[in-house]
């Protein structure tokens, strides 16, 4: 599914440059649920951004679903992002002047799907995250958990091969975090491949595999026993 070989990335800072990723090797099979952990500055977000084609690697190989991702033009990157990837952000990143339904339908607009079909699909995904009744509400009328669920519905709308989550529970309280994680786990149960960056141990333990980064290299890559986030467990 995802193949990364000797990935390097550095950022220029003044005259010197900061070497953030120092040769990352990572293989992820379809259906996996991987947590990328590490302290801030370890390079975990940079890695996720490169996987998400939001950023480019300096050197190394990156193959996604048998498609080598390299020498991307802006246009090509846009098409790949739209076709392969679904993003879930810590700060939700909903467009604040669009209602929930329009936000979810946006990736479908960039796929060139007809309006009628877009709305049907978007409504289907909103129903899946349990927010069908909130379709016409603007983001600022929703709670944090609801916003993140709209964002998840948006990430799912284009039916991506890989879901990328950057601290999906970072802005949420514990109870809401567990609800969101429960939902992400159920998506994984349905077969979606999920990659998430987090710095919370309990969230990481809800994944099936934990990759620990430190100073730009992988320190540890282990499979763990998944902890179910089902709200019942909280009681």
């Amino acid at each position: 599914m995802l193949k990364i070989n000797k990935l390097h990335k550095s950022y220029p800072i003044g005259n010197t440059s900061l070497h953030v990723l120092k040769g990352i090797d990572l293989f992820v099979e379809a259906g996996e649920m991987v947590a990328i952990m590490g302290s801030s500055g370890s390079g975990k977000s940079t890695l996720l951004n490169i996987i998400g084609m939001l950023d480019e690697a300096d050197e190394g190989e990156y193959v996604l679903d048998n498609v080598p991702i390299k020498n991307l033009t802006e246009k090509k990157a846009a098409i790949y992002r739209n076709k392969f990837l679904g993003f879930i952000f810590q700060s939700f990143n909903l467009i604040n002047y669009k209602n929930a339904l329009d936000n979810v339908a946006l990736p479908l607009y960039y796929q060139g799907i007809k309006r009628k079909e877009r709305i049907d699909k978007a409504l289907f995904h909103l129903e899946k995250v349990g927010l069908k009744d909130w379709a016409t509400h603007l983001p600022n009328e929703l709670s944090g958990g609801q916003k993140q669920r709209v964002a998840i519905a948006r990430a799912l709308a284009a039916d991506p091969k890989l879901l990328l989550a950057d601290e999906p529970t970072g802005a949420l309280d514990t109870k809401t975090s567990h609800e969101i994680m429960d939902f992400i786990q159920s998506l994984n149960d349905e077969g979606k491949t999920i990659l998430m960056v987090t710095h919370e141990e309990d969230i990481a333990n809800m994944c099936k595999r934990i990759v620990r980064l430190k100073d730009g290299v992988i320190m540890e890559d282990i499979f763990v026993n998944q902890v179910r986030a089902s709200p019942i467990c909280l009681i």
Binding site: N49, G52, L54, D55, E56, E74, K75, A78, I79, R81, N82, K83, F87, F89, S91, N93, L94, I95, Y97, K98, D102, L106, P107, Y109, Y110, Q111, R115, R154, A158
Partner: protein, 409 residues
Amino acid sequence: MFDIDLWREIFQSINMNKTRTLLSGFTVTFAILLFALLFGITNGLLNTFDSAFADDAKNSIFIRSGKTSKASNGLQAGRQIQFENADQEWVEEEFGDKVQYISSRIYLNVTATFRNEKSTNTVRAVNPDHQYLENTMVNYGRYINESDVKNKTKVVVIGRLVEEDLFLKTTAIGKYINLNGIQYKVVGVFSDDGGDNEERMIYMPVSTAQQIYGNNDHIDQINLTYNPEMDYDEAISFSSILSKKMKERFMVSQNDQRAIRVRNLANESKAVNQMTFILSILVLIIGFGTLIAGIVGISNIMIFIVKERTKEIGIRKALGAAPKSIVLIILLESILITIIAGFLGLFLGMGILELIAPSLEKYFIKDPYVSLNLVIAATFTLIFAGGLAGYLPAKKASRIKPIVALRKY
């Protein structure tokens, strides 16, 4: 290629960001409004200057006579100088090409009657060329012609207001008007931009007046226009030579300011022309200044809008928007707003000019009017500038990495 979805996106963005839309729209509307008002008011000032000289042809020279104030050539002061037909012919022969039109003038005060209506009017007895000297516009019928002068026919051309006063609602053409007891056939009705007094004039052939009222060939005044190909300085030197030779012809001292007076409108036209020229330059500077201020304003707002939308651009790119679609959505929105706001300013400006025009007349602003083409050109300049000012930052924003755009809060 009309993309309804793209326009739906744009209208949603306009609709949901009203402050932004109003702000950018206001700048454009205000710039165009000011542009139209400034141009209109200055045009009104220019019109006032123009109409002040609309009565006579701008290249007119008037030659009048009076009593000598100085003794010369052995003749005493106080001698009355009287022009005759021969003097007009002499001017034509002497100056030839330099004279465009020439006519004599005799003034008569008459009581005009038609049936029961009566009025007091001034008659000007003239040659056919006089029509061009005085900018007389013939509404019906004809003006005095050469055969009238040759045959001394008893015909008159009357002013629009004479017809109104004496003939009431009926046409005067072909009817006979009584001037001091003698019947004249009305052959034409004229109007004149010089005001009501001009339109109460009555014109008759110079020869007819000479025969009936004096049986001589005296004339009161010689009017002519100089060849319009001459510039102001040539025209002024022409009239001083004319004055000099006339004084020699009548044996008048060259220093005598009263016996023969030559007035050349070129002197006044020159001053007015300089003034209107400066005024036009001033308008141009102010107009372009306003336009540039508008362009700077809309450019600033576009840069601000793109900055404000940077995060949205990042989100859209993460969801698969191609750079082209980002540029398009920002550009079309800005062009749409500029077009609507620009034309709003255009109609407001024209409307206000129309509305305040009557109350401005007392401030020497007549018919404040700005050409529609000019304002449309100004509007399109702003639209183009707004488009360009939107395009450059939009292009730049569409190129930044989505991760950079998303990091902005």
